[in-house]
C-alpha cells in the first residue's frame, strides 16, 4: 500500500515536471517575443533635425577627434524627462555617431529631480556609481559644489574654453559658488512668463495683451477677464500642488537678494513688496481670480479647454500646449524682475579624476553648447537656450512664442542658491494653497511661513 502511494507520488511529480517544462517553454517564448521587439524596434526618426545652416563658423558635424584612445563610456544623468530630456537625448545620439569608437555618452534618468540629487549623494558617499556629468540647476551649487561637482574654471578659461559674453548674464553669474569657483555651465534659462488662451479671450471680446507692466496691472487685467466673461472663465490658474515657484513671479519684484540667503539665515518676508505680494495672493483667492486648488493635470485640462484664460509658468509647458490641437495660445511678457532658473551642466569629480575622461566630457559639453545644438534644444523643447548664439539659431528664432519667452529672459532675476530650495517651495505652496482655499488669510499665511522658514534655518 505504502509502496503504491510512493510510486503514485512519483508519477504525479513526473507529470508536474512536464507541466513545469511546458510552463517554462511558454515563458521562454514570451521572453523571445520581448527580445524580438527589442531587436526589431527601430531607432526613432529624430524630430530634432537641423533646420538651417549655422552661420557662426562652427559646423554641426565636426570631424572626429584626432586624439587617439580607447572608447570612453560616460553616464550622464538628467531629471528632464519631457521634450527637453528627449531633445538632449537626441543630440547625444548625434554626438555618439560622430565620435563612435571614441566616446559614448548615455543619458540616464534617475527619476524626478530629487531622485537625481539623492542618487548623486548616495553615489558620492559610497565612493562609486557617480556619473560623469549631471544636468541640474544653478541652485544645486551649494549642495554639490566642492564634493560631487567639480570646479570647471580651468576648463572654461582654458585654451578650449567658453566665452562668457555668449551667455545670458544672469545665468552665467549664477553658476559661480560663494568661493568664486564655477561649478557648472548654464544650458538654458527658464524664467516664468504668462501664457494666454486666445480662444478664451476672443470668446468674450477681451483684448489679448502683449506685455504687462506691473503686478497691479496684472491683477486689474485679471479682474477685467472675470468681468467680461461674467465669471464663466477663470482669469488665471495657480499651481500649488506641483513643487514649483510660480508664486515667485508675483512676489518676484520683491528684494530677491534677501530672500534666498547663502548662509541660510531666515529670509525676510516682511518687506513692503513682500507684504504687497501676499495681499495679491489674498486678492486672487477672495475675488476668485483663480480656481481654489488644482493639480498639474487640472491646470493643463482647464487651460487647454479654455476654462482658464491665462497661466504663469515656465517655457517647458510650450511642448504640452503645442501638442493640444484645439488650443491657440500666445505668450505675454511680464515686465518686472521675474523668477528664473537655469538648467546647468555639471561635471563630476569622478569624471575629472581621469585625464581622457575629463577631456572627452569637456569636448562633449562644448559640442552641446554649439549654436545649432543649443538652439535646436530650444526649438524642440521650448526652453530658452542659455547661449546667445543658440537663441539666434534660425529654428529657434522663427518661433513667435519662443521669441517672446526669450525676450522675457532679459527680466530674469536668478534665485540665489540655497540648500533648502525644495523645502521652501513646499512651505510656500502649502500655505498659498491654504490661502487659495480661504482657510488662511494673508496675515496668517505670512506668519506661518515666516515661522517655518525660521525653524528651517535654525535647524542648520
Amino acid at each position: 500500500m505504502d509502496e503504491m502511494t510512493l510510486s503514485e507520488q512519483k508519477k504525479m511529480s513526473r507529470r508536474n515536471y512536464l507541466k513545469y517544462v511546458a510552463g517554462g517553454a511558454v515563458v521562454v517564448a514570451a521572453a523571445g517575443v520581448g527580445y524580438g521587439l527589442y531587436a526589431g524596434s527601430q531607432a526613432p526618426t529624430p524630430p530634432i533635425t537641423q533646420t538651417a545652416t549655422v552661420t557662426q563658423g562652427a559646423t554641426v558635424t565636426g570631424a572626429p577627434t584626432t586624439a587617439a584612445g580607447r572608447l570612453v563610456k560616460s553616464d550622464w544623468w538628467t531629471g528632464q524627462r519631457a521634450f527637453d530630456g528627449d531633445a538632449t537625448a537626441m543630440l547625444i545620439g548625434e554626438y555618439n555617431e560622430i565620435y563612435v569608437g571614441d566616446h559614448e555618452v548615455t543619458q540616464g534618468y534617475p527619476g524626478v529631480w530629487n531622485d537625481v540629487y539623492g542618487k548623486l549623494t548616495a553615489a558620492y558617499k559610497a565612493g562609486s556609481g557617480m556619473p560623469d556629468g549631471v544636468m541640474m540647476h544653478t541652485s544645486e551649487i551649494p549642495i554639490f559644489g566642492g564634493n560631487a561637482a567639480a570646479p570647471l574654471d580651468d576648463l572654461v578659461k582654458g585654451p578650449d574654453g567658453l566665452d562668457p559674453s555668449n551667455y545670458v548674464k544672469g545665468a552665467w553669474d549664477a553658476s559661480f559658488a560663494a568661493d568664486g569657483k564655477q561649478y557648472c555651465v548654464p544650458w538654458d534659462c527658464h524664467c516664468m512668463s504668462m501664457y494666454v488662451n486666445i480662444d478664451a479671450h476672443n470668446k468674450y471680446n477681451i483684448e489679448v495683451p502683449v506685455e504687462i507692466a506691473s503686478v497691479d496691472a496684472l491683477v486689474d487685467y485679471w479682474r477685467s477677464i472675470k468681468k467680461a466673461s461674467g465669471g464663466k472663465v477663470y482669469p488665471t490658474v495657480l499651481d500649488t500642488q506641483t513643487v514649483d515657484l510660480w508664486w515667485m513671479s508675483i512676489a518676484n519684484y520683491a528684494e530677491m537678494d534677501d530672500f534666498f540667503t547663502k548662509d541660510l539665515t531666515a529670509p525676510n518676508i516682511r518687506t513692503d513688496k513682500w507684504n504687497h505680494a501676499f495681499e495679491v495672493y489674498e486678492t486672487i483667492a477672495k475675488e476668485k481670480l483663480a480656481p481654489a486648488s488644482n493639480s498639474h493635470t487640472d491646470l493643463i485640462t482647464m487651460f487647454g479647454r479654455g476654462d482658464v484664460a491665462t497661466n504663469i509658468y515656465g517655457p517647458w509647458m510650450m511642448g504640452t500646449w503645442d501638442s493640444l490641437p484645439a488650443l491657440t495660445y500666445t505668450v505675454c511678457q511680464l515686465k518686472w524682475p521675474i523668477w528664473g532658473g537655469s538648467h546647468a551642466m555639471y561635471l563630476t569629480t569622478a569624471a575629472r579624476a581621469q585625464k581622457d575622461r575629463e577631456a572627452k566630457m569637456w569636448r562633449w559639453l562644448k559640442w552641446m553648447h554649439r549654436p545649432a545644438n543649443n538652439g535646436r534644444y530650444g526649438e524642440y523643447s521650448g526652453m530658452i537656450p542659455a547661449t546667445i548664439t543658440g537663441q539666434n539659431y534660425l529654428g529657434y528664432k522663427v518661433n513667435p512664442q519662443r521669441q517672446i519667452y526669450a525676450a522675457q529672459s532679459a527680466y530674469t532675476k536668478t534665485t540665489q542658491p540655497t540648500l533648502h530650495l525644495w523645502e521652501m517651495m513646499d512651505i510656500f505652496n502649502a500655505h498659498l494653497s491654504a490661502m487659495s482655499l480661504l482657510s488662511e488669510n494673508a496675515q496668517q499665511a505670512q506668519d506661518a511661513i515666516e515661522q517655518e522658514l525660521t525653524k528651517l534655518a535654525d535647524g542648520n
Partner: protein, 269 residues
Amino acid sequence: MKRSRILIYGVLGASLLLWIVPFYILGAVSVNADMLARPPEWFPSQPSIVGYEAYFYRSGFGRWVLNSFIYSISITAGSVAISVLAGYAFSRLQFRGKTVLFWLVLIGMMMPAIVYYIPLFITMARLQLVDTYAGMILPLLVNPFSVFLVKQAFDGVPRDFEEAAVVDGASPYQIMFSVMLPLVRPVMITVLLFNFIWSWNNWIWPLFVLSNNSLFNLPIAVWLQSNTFTIIFQNVAAGGVLAAIVPLILYIIALDYFMKGVVLTGLKG
C-alpha cells in the same frame, strides 16, 4: 423572495461597474478619447494609436519589456526556490532557534518596505550594485511572505505521506521534492504567480536603484515617461495599458489559481 433577489442582483451587478469603468477609461483615453472635451468623451471621436506609437517607436520599449520578463522570471524563480526550502524547514524540520528565526520572517513581513529601501539603496551603492541587474534582482529575492505561504501550505499536508516515504527509505531531499512538493502543487503555482505579478508590477525599487534607461522595467519606464510637467494624455494612458497587459493576461489564464491563492493566504497556520 423574488423581488429582493432581483434587487440584490441589480445592486451587485451595478457595483461591478465601479471596477470596470477605471480600466475602460484607461483604454479609451489611450486610443484618443478626448478628456479635455466638455463633456469628456467615452468613445474616441477620432480614434488613433498615437499614444501607443509613442512607446513602440521609442528606442527602449522592447528593452523594457524584455527587462520586465528578466526581472520577473529570475526574481520569481529565485525567491520561490529559497522560500520553498525555508518554508519546508519551518514546517517539517526541527532545529534550535526555530522560533526566533520564524519571528524574523514575521517581522520581515510586517516591516514597511520603504523604511529599509532608503538605507538599502545606500548599501547597494557601497556594494557598487546600483544600476545593475544584480542590484535590481538580489534584494527582491528576499520575500518573507512567500516563506510564510509555503510553510502554511506544507503544514496542511498530513504527515502520513512523509511517514510512508520514510518507511520506503527515501532521503530527506527525496521527501521534499518527490513527495511534499507535488502535494502542494496548487499552492506552489499560486506562489509563483503572485511573485511574478509582484515583481512585474514593482516600480518603487527600480525608482531607487535604476537610472539607466536600458535597465528599466515597464512600470517604472511608463511612470518616468508620464510623470512630467508635460502630460500628453493618450501617451500616459497608453503607458498604463501597456504596463497592465501581461499581468492581466496572466490573470485571465490562471484565474482560478489567483482566486484560490488569495484564500490560501488566510489559511490558519
